[in-house]
Symmetry: C2
Subunit: 462 residues, 2 copies
Amino acid sequence: MISSAKWLNTPGLISLGGGLPCPDYFPFEELDIKVPQVPRFSPFRNGHAHEGSDYCLLRAGKHDMAEGTSMFDITTAMQYGQAHGAAQFLRFLVEHTELIHDPPYQDWSCTMTVGNTSALDVTLRMLSNRGDWMLSEEYTFVAAAEAAGALGVKTAAVPMDEHGMRADGLNDVLTNWDEKERGGPKPFLVYTVPTGQNPTGATQTAQRRRDIYAVAQKHELIIIEDDPYYYLQMDPYTGPEDSPGAAAASPPASHDDFIKSLVPSYLSIDTDGRVIRMDSFSKVVAPGTRAGWITAPEQMVDRYRAHAELSTQAPSGTSQLVLFKLLEDHWGHAGYLDWLMHLRVEYTARRNVMMAACDQYLPKNIVSWAVPVAGIFCWLRLDHTRHPRYGETSLEKIEEEVFDAIIRQKTWLMNGSWFRPDRAEKLGGIFFRATYAAAPFDQIQEGIQRLGKAVRETFKPN
Amino acid sequence: MISSAKWLNTPGLISLGGGLPCPDYFPFEELDIKVPQVPRFSPFRNGHAHEGSDYCLLRAGKHDMAEGTSMFDITTAMQYGQAHGAAQFLRFLVEHTELIHDPPYQDWSCTMTVGNTSALDVTLRMLSNRGDWMLSEEYTFVAAAEAAGALGVKTAAVPMDEHGMRADGLNDVLTNWDEKERGGPKPFLVYTVPTGQNPTGATQTAQRRRDIYAVAQKHELIIIEDDPYYYLQMDPYTGPEDSPGAAAASPPASHDDFIKSLVPSYLSIDTDGRVIRMDSFSKVVAPGTRAGWITAPEQMVDRYRAHAELSTQAPSGTSQLVLFKLLEDHWGHAGYLDWLMHLRVEYTARRNVMMAACDQYLPKNIVSWAVPVAGIFCWLRLDHTRHPRYGETSLEKIEEEVFDAIIRQKTWLMNGSWFRPDRAEKLGGIFFRATYAAAPFDQIQEGIQRLGKAVRETFKPN
């Protein structure tokens, strides 16, 4: 009501109305950020930037907007802001979304978030009630199931294969939903991480996404597409000879080629407006920005924003300013695509190092894995039937035994059992999640070698 | 469970476990912030800094912690963080809280928030259920009542006087609480802005706070102390001759004098651990930081943090880094107190300009006000009985008429009726909220002069 009042634009209006503090008292005069220069991003290897990196200094001043030198400045960014984010930065995100996903319906809209966990929290607050169920992959991002649980929303598991959530599995769970047995109505929300899923690293193929979308249409589901790893899609892994040679992964020839190489998002096939897509800067810029955005039908976005106004209010202006200077003022869309292509090359190289180490060091009669095509996780399956005490002891005990052996080898992987939405359920297999996101190459190799020792020690194969 | 595992500290441990991205890929190498130098903060007048301001440049590097040059750096701040905020920054906040409030019980604790609106939202999610009521001042911060409303928590008004919420009024509301009539149980939460309350500008005296605390003890209330204006307590206003002379307001002689001059917070008299105090940087540093903290009994703080982990996750690392560099690395506690004393002088001068203008331009037989002793708001009461159509028309209509006249005078003040927790209730008086926070001095004077014209035009006094 107040913000739309037309008299606010009266020329010469003196405002003693709003409750905004005076920007003169913001104790920040200038902010300089040293960032990589496009397009010469230099590769990182073993945690050290190669020589020859180009950097440049971006400056945000206090009064850049008044002085006409930028569309965003300290005065605006550090003031109270809009729940949807600063208009000038939100525009960049809308343009980027159109460039990559080009949603096939008219009234889609974007609003900024303070990250995907908050975005899920707000979405569930807006759409669900205590006692509702949502669906997710049978191994899922734990914080998602826990965020739902905190709102009294239970999570039902949908079976997966190497391409992630199964469409037939989704259909089965819904078709056979027993309200009495489950103690809640048939779900209308499916939460999925379609690309480089956490923890399995699985990426749904384009066909799988179309199949799941069709199931969603049949059962009138809203799809919550949590997609932080979307741009960490990688080149194919062709074998140990790829690794760790930097030449193995080469960037796409053009931005167009890059965009075409990406598996279509749910948003990009959403003719009905049943997808809430959650994008995050955590994996492609930095998690500490605590900034992301959702794309969904305008009606939902409006409702989201109304919730945000009364809770998170607005994403950090400090983060928005830094992101704006980098993405809009400096890189632009083309430079940002260059950066994303750079990350693709980097993560491909990292993934290849781990795959080659797995090929070399893991006993293949016990450990199996699918080569991840996106994300930062490799999901290792241990054939529990080969464990010497299989049949005498529980899978839980075997998993624990392997975990202890890995820790004795001074290596840490995450137990698969930790990622089940319902941890009380009986374990159906033994998995470990390994990430190649952050460790230097030699540690990835050494870590996998140690894992191999721990598995051999536990399973005692001949 | 995971984070407390002792094997995480194993020397030589190779972690392929966590899901953290590699900081090498954070595209920020250095962050430089130009900030005012202690103790020579120069006064601002009419929106322009005086000549002679001292500034200095603070630099955060990517690897300052590894290099031993700072306790916080880009690598850490831009990574996933703890829900309670970075330990090194939280420590500063705990020390500051102890220095100022020195809570009189043992197990108090602090955790960072993404601002007070979110802090209230999380607090209500943690403590209340749909159908509950909370209590607040009869005119209140609208977003607070709306945040409660969004959670199904209704807000009941407690009568105020010029010192804010009345203790006897609070006792009356609780003593006479009629569950049937109200449709909800007797409240156990009172939400109050005790210092420079929004919108009335009222500040509860030390005695009033003790009286309200005693009522809270009697009725077993939890007090939610939302106190963003705490440090905007001002020197006394002695009359128009004070204004706008800069000499009128002088800083306290010492930090000790300054701290002693502050009215005691609820936290500082909370022997029982029944206060949740919400502090914010919005009014003393900048709202765009979206950062604040709560102080409460450890058990509540732990619960708060568990909620934050599944929703807001952590305050922006970008903001935390900027605040840390400013407050801990540069100013330190003493410098921050200097800054707060500087704000006191500045806001005193601003308030004095508005008070002198009110004295000069407003018809005192119609408009009355109490001189605010804290905050950024002046609450102007219009004697509706003097309106020519009093008795023939509603107070709502008269308020609207005055508002329209003010807008015709090209000035904007906020209608008092907007600040009622229950807007459906009949209006009991006509108020307008004016702020001296941000406008240049001459505009404050001109705005009040225009208000005087609008009131005379509407009330047509002889």
